[in-house]
């Protein structure tokens, strides 16, 4: 991790990594105080490995690859626990959204395949029906992720309790929804 060199390198390019983020979502991470409030309140700090303050420091150092291939940006659930306490008022969740986009757009290896697959299945369902069909999402996700038998009992209880409908609830104007997907998301 040769941070200093990267800072110079980024400055030399005219547009730093943090500039790029500011342009994409309007959030200026250079106001981060490194106070670690986010780290102390984040419920998933341990699983994420990096709290926002570490990511932001790395962004300031221009460590693009490091940040965009981190598990943290995928495990973060966007709960805003950090952002609602951040003394610098940084919209941390908006930055996380942008970091995931950049990771996908630049073909970075994604360390959290399962999370990515799950999100893809949710979007797939919305594209098809306009709403989420939870049973189908779970089945397709499980097939794709290879965890077909994991968690089977939870699924059975959900079915028995009639929490998972066999048929999807649908939007009538589903073509309108499909158009929104054409405009933006392309399933890869």
């Amino acid at each position: 991790m040769s941070g200093n060199i990267d800072i110079l390198h980024e400055q030399g390019r005219g547009k730093s990594f943090s500039d790029e983020i500011r342009i994409l979502c309007g959030v200026n991470i250079s106001t981060c105080l490194q106070c670690r409030t986010c780290a102390s309140v984040c419920p998933f700090y341990e699983a994420m490995g990096h709290a926002p303050h570490t990511l932001f420091r790395k962004i300031q150092y221009g460590l693009r690859q490091d940040v965009l291939t981190s598990s943290a940006i995928w495990i973060c659930v966007g709960c805003n626990t950090c952002a609602s306490q951040c003394p610098a008022g940084i919209d941390i969740v908006a930055v996380m959204d942008v970091l995931r986009q950049l990771a996908l757009e630049t073909n970075m290896p994604i360390p959290e395949e399962d999370i990515l697959n799950f999100h893809r299945e949710v979007l797939h369902s919305i594209e098809r029906y306009g709403r989420t069909h939870k049973l189908e999402i779970m089945l397709r996700y499980k097939i794709k992720s290879g965890h077909l038998l994991a968690d089977l009992d939870t699924g059975m209880i959900m079915l028995a309790k009639r929490k998972l409908d066999l048929r999807p609830s649908r939007v009538h104007a589903v073509n309108e929804i499909k158009r929104l997907f054409k405009k933006t998301w392309q399933e890869t």
């Binding site: 998933f44 699983a47 609602s84 697959n117 799950f118 979007l123 919305i126 009538h172 998301w185």
Partner: protein
């Protein structure tokens, strides 16, 4: 007990969201019942679509925006849009915020949907609707007293907005105020806004389990008989992912509200059927409110 329904109804547009329509039917049913007592007429948005949940903004910010915006364009401008699911609320409110801030987006929406008002819509979570009510009036209208039940109020995280959104007056204490009006005993406990793990329940169940167990453990340790939550996703995660031996039921805010205001046993038993941890014993010996 429909005779207890209020006579003057106030109209609201209503966005149910996928959870209300599927995994949390009891939340939706009890909400409808509670609104009858409160005099709120919820008019469901015609042909609403999924707001994108967490997945749209995680993978494609623009798609998340577009999915939410379509819903906003379905709502007439002359009445507020009520949302029950905190996650949908967050997405819809965020989309409105972006729309209101950009002439370009407004023009694009106006052109495509022939709608000029989506960025001005008043969007409100059901909890805030109740929070703005006169609690003394609620107390007067109560049919059942909850004084025998010890409750841990649980907001979940999704009602906390990102920095541009400040918490609204009264929101942060609304569940407690309502429970107090109904005579319930409210316990002190630390995890009132701790995140339940949301979508990690599917893709990283171990991480969600740890979060859920921590929440449940502290609620049980506080002596509560049940939790009352404002979030259907928290409700299902807490019930489904908790691996502790000692668990207590998790009720929807709308269930406790509708019960206190006059639902009968037959009604609440239809909602409780969908629960994984049976709340029925708690309500078996309710006493009439004085």
């Amino acid at each position: 007990m429909t005779d207890r329904a209020a006579s003057d109804m106030i109209d609201f547009s209503y966005f149910p969201g996928c959870s209300m329509a599927t995994t949390s039917k009891e939340c939706s049913l009890s909400l409808i019942q509670a609104c009858k007592y409160l005099g709120l007429n919820l008019i469901e948005l015609d042909d609403w679509n999924c707001c994108g949940s967490s997945s749209a903004h995680c993978l494609d910010i623009q798609l998340g925006f577009e999915l939410s915006v379509r819903n906003l364009t379905l709502a007439p401008a002359n009445r507020p849009l009520v949302v029950m699911c905190p996650s949908c609320f967050r997405n819809l409110r965020q989309a409105k915020h972006h729309l209101a801030a950009s002439r370009k987006l407004q023009e694009s929406v106006a052109r495509r949907y022939d709608n000029l008002v989506a960025g001005k819509l008043d969007i409100i979570h059901f909890l805030s609707v109740v929070g703005q009510m006169d609690m003394e009036k609620l107390q007067e209208k109560a049919v059942w007293s909850l004084h025998k039940i010890k409750i841990a109020p649980y907001y979940g995280c999704m009602l906390a907005g990102p920095p541009p959104f400040k918490p609204q007056q009264g929101d942060s204490f609304c569940i407690e105020r309502m429970l107090e009006a109904f005579g319930a005993r409210i316990v002190l406990w630390p995890n009132i806004r701790w995140c339940c793990g949301t979508f990690l329940t599917a893709s990283k169940p171990d991480v969600a389990r740890d979060a859920v167990n921590q929440i449940m453990e502290s609620a049980v340790a506080s002596g509560a008989d049940c939790l009352v939550t404002a979030c259907a996703m928290c409700q299902i995660n807490l019930e489904m992912r908790c691996t502790l031996e000692k668990k207590i039921p998790v009720l929807h805010f709308s269930e406790i509200l509708a019960i206190a205001m006059g639902a009968d046993e037959e009604q609440w038993n239809t909602w409780f059927r969908y629960h994984l941890v049976d709340p029925r014993p708690l309500f078996a010996k309710l006493e009439a409110a004085s």
